[in-house]
């Protein structure tokens, strides 16, 4: 008995709920202020290349106004509140975010291209949880650091990336406010909208003016913010290249710095692993958020004895991955965040082929408009190949085999990065053995890309320094006097 194929129809989340403005100003001192630069830029929907809104482009003078507002709010209001009072505002923000979760999820998907399933089930709930988590710490800081003299730092400049816009905002703003600091935040230029929506939420929460300021713009805006002399703390998540520039700019100043940078994380499957679940885990590790994840498991190492089977299963599974409109509830892989990033990924794919790698992509159809990239596997990749060494930040997985534990540990650690790693095995002893020897900030065992506000996150080597999340995340926003 034969029949025609059974394929799911699109199931689109409605964006009609959103009330987008045509133009967004800077959020400074609790008010929407037109930029002194008088300049604006367009925010583009990467799934169909349509224009979403015009957004203010802050210059040096604008960042100066924002920093002054943050300083005034710090001196006059925020540093004078008790921890319990700060916590009250944070709880209020968390609840308002939860109430507007659907709106935030749709906005994140429209602006950044990530599947609605992920913004709805991962980004937004986790962002809310970070506020709830740090709201709880606000009046318990002394208990967190018993026996130590602690105080807030002052004004924090925070620069967030485009891959998890609201979540990275939450990672930075929540601990900063809980510890008694005020902030000036610059979101990535391609994904400013949820930060601007967050500004509205701060207003709804009655947060005192100037405690949170949001200046939108490109890299020059971020550079002006970093260079400002009245900043006490800089927190940056983004590329290693920009991270190095920021670190240079901070030399000779007393600015406290945390950097969460790139990665080329190893995902290791041992021959005794639960293979089907490992294959699924590898898929999630590299294709989550189109591979725009700093800790993406982008280097796969499979033990030789099971390599053929794992590869066959990966290829088969890729055929049932849905690539397309991010607003479709069935989409697994959405749009690449920007044209620029798509070009970068395509350049790496060409390079991978030129370097002798065997490419595999499923036969799925991509939408004709918008920035899309098929999930891509590369086999026959050398450890020395560029695509195995450099961060691609897209849905591209390199696959290598190994024979012994010693070999895979060496190869996994053979990278300038050290953000995350994954280990797939049925043996507890191997999990502990490997996680002690892998030089990575996070090692996941038989799972990948699991995040929780209570768990610290951060890297080794060129993946950055400082930890965000958990109790560790508080110390980045506190001064320790003795």
């Amino acid at each position: 008995m034969s029949q025609k194929n059974w394929n799911l129809e699109p199931s689109l989340e409605s964006a009609a709920l959103l009330k987008l403005q045509d133009q967004y100003e800077l959020f400074i001192d609790g008010k929407w202020q037109a930029p002194l630069s008088k300049k604006y830029f367009d925010s583009i929907n990467p799934s169909d290349e349509s224009k979403l809104a015009k957004i203010a482009w802050a210059n040096e003078a604008d960042t100066d106004v924002a920093v002054k507002a943050a300083r005034t709010a710090y001196e006059n209001v925020w540093s004078k509140l008790s921890g319990a009072q700060r916590g009250k505002y944070l709880f209020r923000i968390a609840r308002l975010m939860q109430e507007q979760a659907k709106e935030l999820a749709i906005l994140e998907t429209l602006d950044g291209g990530k599947p609605i399933r992920e913004s709805r089930d991962v980004d937004i709930p986790l962002a809310c949880n970070h506020f709830f988590y740090y709201a709880g710490w606000a009046d318990k800081l002394q208990e967190a650091f018993a026996g130590q003299q602690i105080s807030s730092l002052g004004v924090a400049a925070q620069i967030t990336p485009w891959n998890f816009p609201l979540l990275m905002l939450a990672w930075k703003v929540a601990p900063a406010l809980a510890c008694g600091n005020t902030v000036v935040l610059k979101p990535a230029e391609t994904t400013s909208l949820t930060a601007l929506k967050f500004a509205e939420i701060c207003q709804q929460a009655g947060l005192p003016a100037g405690v949170v300021n949001i200046v939108t713009g490109y890299g020059d805006t971020g550079a002006a913010l970093v260079a400002h002399t009245d900043i006490d703390k800089i927190a940056f998540t983004g590329s290693t290249a920009v991270g190095k520039q920021i670190q240079k700019a901070c030399l000779g100043t007393s600015k406290k710095l945390t950097l969460e940078l790139g990665g080329k994380s190893a995902n290791i499957i041992l021959e005794d692993a639960p293979i089907d679940q490992a294959v699924e885990g590898v898929i999630n590790a590299i294709f989550f958020n189109q591979g725009h994840v700093c800790c993406a498991g982008s280097r796969l190492y499979v033990q030789e004895s099971i390599a053929a089977q794992v590869l066959a299963k990966l290829k088969f599974r890729l055929q049932s991955i849905y690539v397309g409109n991010p607003l479709d509830k069935n989409t697994d892989i959405g749009a690449i965040n920007s044209k620029k990033q798509l070009e970068t990924i395509e350049r790496y794919i060409k390079l991978g082929i030129a370097e002798g790698g065997q490419i595999y992509q499923p036969t799925c159809e991509l939408p004709s408009k918008g920035y899309y990239c098929k999930p891509t596997l590369f086999t026959d990749v050398a450890q020395s190949a560029t695509i195995a060494q450099e961060e691609i930040f897209g849905p591209v997985l390199t696959i290598q085999t190994f024979r012994t534990m010693e070999e895979v540990i060496q190869k996994a650690n053979n990278s300038p990065y050290g953000l995350a790693a994954g280990v797939w095995t049925d043996k507890g002893s191997r999990i502990f053995g490997l996680s002690q020897q892998l030089r990575a900030g996070v090692v996941w065992a038989n799972t990948y890309n699991k995040f929780d506000p209570a768990s610290p996150f951060g890297g080794y080597k060129e993946s950055g320094f400082g930890r965000e999340g958990g109790r560790h995340g508080l110390s980045a926003y506190l001064k320790f006097s003795n």
Binding site: W6, E9, S11, D272, P274, D276, Q277, S320, N330, T447
Partner: protein, 307 residues
Amino acid sequence: MLTSFSSSDIAASIAKSPTVDQIGILERVARIQTRSFKGASKIQGLKMALSMIDLTTLEGKDTPSKVRQLCYKAQHLHDQAPGLPMVAAVCVYPTMVKEAKKALGNSGIKVASVSTAFPSGQAPFEVKKIDTLYALENGADEIDMVISRGRFLAGDYQFIYDEIAAIKELCTSARLKVIFETGELDSLDQVRKISDLAIVAGADFIKTSTGKIQPAATFPVVLTMLGSIKDHFDRTGQMIGMKPAGGISSSKLALQHLLLVKEVLGEAWLTNEWYRFGASSLANDLLMQYQKQLTGKYQSAAYFSID
């Protein structure tokens, strides 16, 4: 014996069964459960699910009259809605096979008979053989046997292998479904082991449960069994059928199960030759959803016949 396996072969086969990670299985299931079914693809899925039902009555109080009613329903699910398929099979006790066979005539609907001292399987092997032969002699097209769960849990895999292989030998033209009663097994690792063992012993279909024990056809169990079928297919090119039974009573669950099959095994399994739902109340929910898709309105359950 159709296939002859030494006990060391069987031990080797079981030893090759990969381990199953429960957390990973749950994550995969959660992904399937976020899928959304709309429009024509939903209608196609509902009809497909209807065509895969083994319409079942397995009660001590079953009578020929009840079975005749069920057989009529199997052929006329809801005559008010044109274009509906018939179910795949009617599933009854061996004593009802003759009646069912007569009532279904040449409709094309199969008669499946449970056997081997269903549901517990606690009977001497000779009795199980007679049970099966009786069903076959009365015309059963398919045999749904139960395994001896106690012997499996005791680690007597040779016994289980021999039991399945012996029943398979009796089923010269009938297809054999092997019921594991996964609600009585300890872990997904055990589910994987019994799946691998039953397939090498000659099962045409592997089936989760009798419907008499809860939990029955849960997603993690079904996904684990599908993994075994897939690996067997990749190794040998031979297709094995899957039958979840018990606990799938809503259309949404049924559609999610079908999508799981499509994603794990492929389109080829999406026919009633390779996939069945063992169910009694599922049919009416599928019919109600089908009507809703056509008319835009939910009808009361009173408009759908219970038998």
